[in-house]
Amino acid sequence: MVLTLIFPLLVLIIEGISASTDLFSYLWQTVLPDYISNTLILGVFVVILAILFGVISAALIVHSNIAGKAALRWLLMLPLAMPAYLVAYLYTDLFDYAGPVQRTLRLWFNWQSPNDYWFFDIRTLGGASIIIALVLFPYVYMLAKTAFELQDQNLLKASRLLGLSAKQSFFKVALPLARPAIAVAASLVLMETLADFATVQYFAVNTLTTAIYDTWLGYSDLATANALASVLMFFILLTVVTEQRARAGQAHQSNRVNKTQQIIVLSNIAQIFASGFCWLLAIAGFILPFTLLLLMAWEYSTLEQFFALIPSATNSITLAFWAAGLSVVFALIFTLFKRLGTDKRRYLPLQISSFGYAIPGTVLAMAMMSTLAPIDYMINDLAKFLGFSPPGLILSGSIFAVIFAYIVRFAAIANGTIDSGIKQIPRSIDFAPASLGANLPIMLTKIHLPLLKPSIWVAWLLVFIEAMKELPAVLLLRPFNFETLSTQIYQLISDEMLEQGALGAIFIVLLGLLPIIWLNRDKNNTSQ
């Protein structure tokens, strides 16, 4: 069963390896160097910016007496709910030549044409980096904050007693201790950046993801698209391996909950800069784009548009519903097997099935295509042979492929949530039912499943939300004329008509807020 989940990826890797060298050398002589350098520059820029944004804000929130801490602690996480392409669209709208900012400036200073003044161009590689970093830095912020909060406070006390100031202690003790957590966060940011499709597409920056999309949907060149996908896959694997290395060294956290933090006291000027920095991040990453979206909805939305969104929303919900349900069922089977199985390699299914989270939607889509299409042909041939009418592309051309892709991609979320739920159950609970005469089915239905109910529900919800937001895989795999909320919004953005989809976009952002709220609630609970 696990093998079914990763089978498409194996097919992709094998096809990538066996792709003709002619093809690669052709690509290498034409577009590949550009795509790769764009992808890498984007990745490096975003990671550097996200670390700057995330670590500084986390350090200020945990270690300093910055004003408005209670609100900022929350607000700095919210940008994660904004899809980068939405922010890209909204800011382009805002800062473009025809946008309100430049219009106002021209009015104030009486400039007549673009030649009269310089204004930054947002639709560049640099602009894309900033936008993506603005919505991804919360990963770094959250993991760094948690690392700072869970550090053994006695280490900081010891460094104070050994003669260091609070600030020196932070740089010499707290920050180095948080390095593994920051590295993990950075690799998450890098993975998301490499997977990003819609933002770079909108900004017309050519990266590997856009290239895959264009070669497949534009030129129907499956072989090239596959080759590009395997190059991207190679970079992702590199990131995953680095991340695993970083995790291996992450043993610096203490369970001792200690509220008395050694606070760095900011001077008045530093206070202004620090608050300004954090508020700017929160405003630029969430408050401003969300407000723009609300204004847009308020100004342009009609009942008609609302009804126009319903069919695609229904499609989104149907897909997400099934993907979430099936992911949870698989996760339950894998985690319970790991927990209760007697096989030596019982942890493998869980581990292998969790690998899909790293795979960009575009790559996954290509993998599905190259796996399911041949199977479809075989089914059709078989049908003809048996004298039935060929059923058509029942796997690769239906929502089956989309749901399959979702499950592969989001299995890690369901696995992680349910696995951490199962870890909360003491081992002795596995033994107690048998000592009272109960067999395995009774134990599962009366003890384990009821105890796991909260985790199951959360896992379902998280996968549901991610599936509602997912864009690139659906774009490539959806059946003809099949729209989901996110593909429709993406289409409207491409046509510069987001106004008509503003309500749908708000819905997606609000959905994205739910897991953030949930994560935060959980932290509050455990720290009590």
């Binding site: 048998a434 000592s435 009272l436 005469g437």
Partner: protein, 363 residues
Amino acid sequence: MTNILNINDLTVNLQGKTILSDVQLTLSEGDILGLVGPSGCGKTTLLNTIAGFIEQEQGQIVIANILTITPENIIAPQHRNVGMIFQDYALFPHLTVEQNICFGIDKLVKAEQQSRLNKLVKLLELTNLEQRFPHQLSGGQQQRVAIARALAPQPKLLLLDEPFSNIDARLRNELMRSMRHLLKSLNITAIFVTHNKDEVFTFADKISVMHQGSILQTGTPASVCQQPINWQVADFLQLGSWIPLKVQSSRVYQTALGEMPFLETMLEKRENNAQENQIQQLLLKPHYIEVCPTSAANVQIDHIAMTEQGYHYLCSSLTPNTEFSFEQLSYYSNELYSLGQQMALIVKTHNFVIFNKPAHVNS
């Protein structure tokens, strides 16, 4: 009396390591056995093997003369009629006290369930707590629910894994007494694991000392303490200090505390009658030592502590690096001596317990 448990030549391997080897154990109806031994000696593994959570490699477990469990005939835990009380109680957090207690008897008719529940609730003083959830109970109440739950299916044998380790020291004695009373009144056979020998004296009829996967000795607590079968048993139970001794020409014992007459009648136990001039170790309980003011000094005080039994001194012999030298000899006195003070100690005449313990090996 019928035998409730018969274990023969039991061997268990886990991950390629032998955890239990050739374990023998017999328990009669109503026996309460305390299983002691250093951590990692296999106590919990033995319990889990009896319960059926670990499969044996070799040997036989016979429960109540009915179930015979061999490597060829493994019986699932749920069919063994063995109850278990877990160290952390393992109460089902989503079920009420009543649902927890009735978990193992839900196949019985309602009336029977109700009557057993009522009896147990009354017996374990859980009245009015039936509808509470485990997290709403105190530690002692949780333990009583765990006991009630394990007793509800009326097991032949009850296993308890360090049942008192999570309990406040002052409450512990009271709980042990009431639980012993309960098990005795129901005539339940029980094995409980502990690393605290004092618990055994309060709670058990029998004691088994385990060491490196084997049971070294089983008997009543008093007999095991008086006649430990080997030095590991004596050492684990901390029955006294060790001083080296040698028998000379079958006439005298020679030690760093002087010579003593060798009398067969004075020997409680001497391991495999050693040859002449071989160094053995004498197990010396503190109350068999006294100060002799007239003799020349033979020990020096290295450590003094204040205890309820008076001052506790740890002494070392004044002749270091000889075959008779020793350290950390315990001696109690109401008189206060000073640190580093030298004095003469002698061994009172008593029944000697002598083993071939390697001189500087701690268990």
